[in-house]
Symmetry: C2
Subunit: 304 residues, 2 copies
Amino acid sequence: MKYGVIGAGAVGGYYGSKLVNAGKEVHFLFHKHFDYVKQHGLQVDSCDGSFHLDDLNAYQHAEDMPPCDVVLVGLKTVNNYLLPKLLSPLLKDDTLVVLIQNGIGVEEDLQKLMPKVQLAAGLAFICCAKSQPGLIEHQCYGYINIGNYSCKNPDLILTVINDFREAGVDANEVEYDEARWKKAVWNMPFNGMTVALQTQTDVLLKSPHTMQLIKDQMLEVIQAAQACGVKNIDDTFADKMIDNTLNMTPYSPSMKLDFDFHRPMEIEYIYSRPIQEARKAGYRMAKLEMLEAELRFIEMNRKN
Amino acid sequence: MKYGVIGAGAVGGYYGSKLVNAGKEVHFLFHKHFDYVKQHGLQVDSCDGSFHLDDLNAYQHAEDMPPCDVVLVGLKTVNNYLLPKLLSPLLKDDTLVVLIQNGIGVEEDLQKLMPKVQLAAGLAFICCAKSQPGLIEHQCYGYINIGNYSCKNPDLILTVINDFREAGVDANEVEYDEARWKKAVWNMPFNGMTVALQTQTDVLLKSPHTMQLIKDQMLEVIQAAQACGVKNIDDTFADKMIDNTLNMTPYSPSMKLDFDFHRPMEIEYIYSRPIQEARKAGYRMAKLEMLEAELRFIEMNRKN
């Protein structure tokens, strides 16, 4: 099994490194930090045990990479327009591409651009960050769920899951639509609200007004999911997500980090697409529509 | 006719001064700026013609003021708990108190505290500010609508309107509920959104996302008004308000000025009360509920 990693930021870099550390063959595409990683390797500071990788299969150009059996994509969705070009050199007839990305609709859109490629969703539940070149800091959690979108070979999905487990990563197969929407229940309220109010998860839940607002927004996602045909979700899932968040350390979601570090925000796939899907199914997410508009305004008017 | 003005800030100060300038007897209660005004008088810099008032009937304490026929209240609603104490010395059996204030429910709440007092709403359409002691700057507009809430003497309302007209202020009698809700159609979107996104009216309307959001919020107020029994309003009123705003100069609504100058925001009467009234009538203002929660959060967490 040959693995490729496109977009070796914090998340892609972490899961790829875990596989390398367990003896798997992994080929990494680096962007800005290629030179640093080629010289110094990759350090993973992890709550599950830190380690250093010296001799990485690191590449600066996708066309130099070998064909792979599985490609993990850790790119931000704002760069997905690059994927056909970046993926092509790595693809064999039966390569599985796992999109470890946020939002609703990423597989659908990529499948339109690359009708033959086999796709799965990778849903990462992890707090990690790449605060400097060559250093991945993994604070907590770390499990990954895989949802099959268009892979005709179910054994390939199971192989990936087994490889992750051998590498010490808790991995499970999940139903695609249910998994993407369930992740949106947490992602849609917290990503945008921490940007709109310039705060963190714990502060939002300390004020009774925003606690109720977050819950209302979660219920909108649940209603939308149901309207879109996801059966296995009901209103109690919102309470569960609130309770989980109350038990987390104060946390800045990925969109807040993107905003703070002057990177574009993933508004399209985290907000616009699920809002459009719900509308097509006859349901309007009123409060999340408002949050989308606020984020678009913030993105358009920010100074950096 | 003796007029009293309680809360002689920009709005109360402007309308009171116009009456004085037309020869009416007006008694002003000043708070912070009493000493300055007593010594220097009051300067009104107005787009309709500037003027200076030297010898004002200015008071520092309500108990020193004479009984009045009409009292104009220009206090911020966050201070309405002071009104029974401030108004008492000025009241005769048939005094009319005109609340020139923002929001829904101010007359209802004051009537509960003072069951015998005759109340009317004063709906001011004016851009003015008090940027320094003794100086009222009136940039544009200026008309005032009066809606009778509990005045048993309709002639008294007409007298006030005539006095305003004699003073060069366009004044008209309007139906109370319709007028309060129509004003809320503009107030609810723009007051809060300029605070939530730290911007001005024109910038909100320049982005297509927030333009649509503002319109959606206006439609929520119109739906709420209809649910609360206001007949004379339909969805076209939102387009009219958007068009009016596009023709205005860039504008910071009163709540934005309150926020910028570290004063408490009038969240209760501009948001919470109309949201509650609509809920009682079976309608939920989803996006304005969200805005209320954001404003409560901002108020609770701001540094000043």
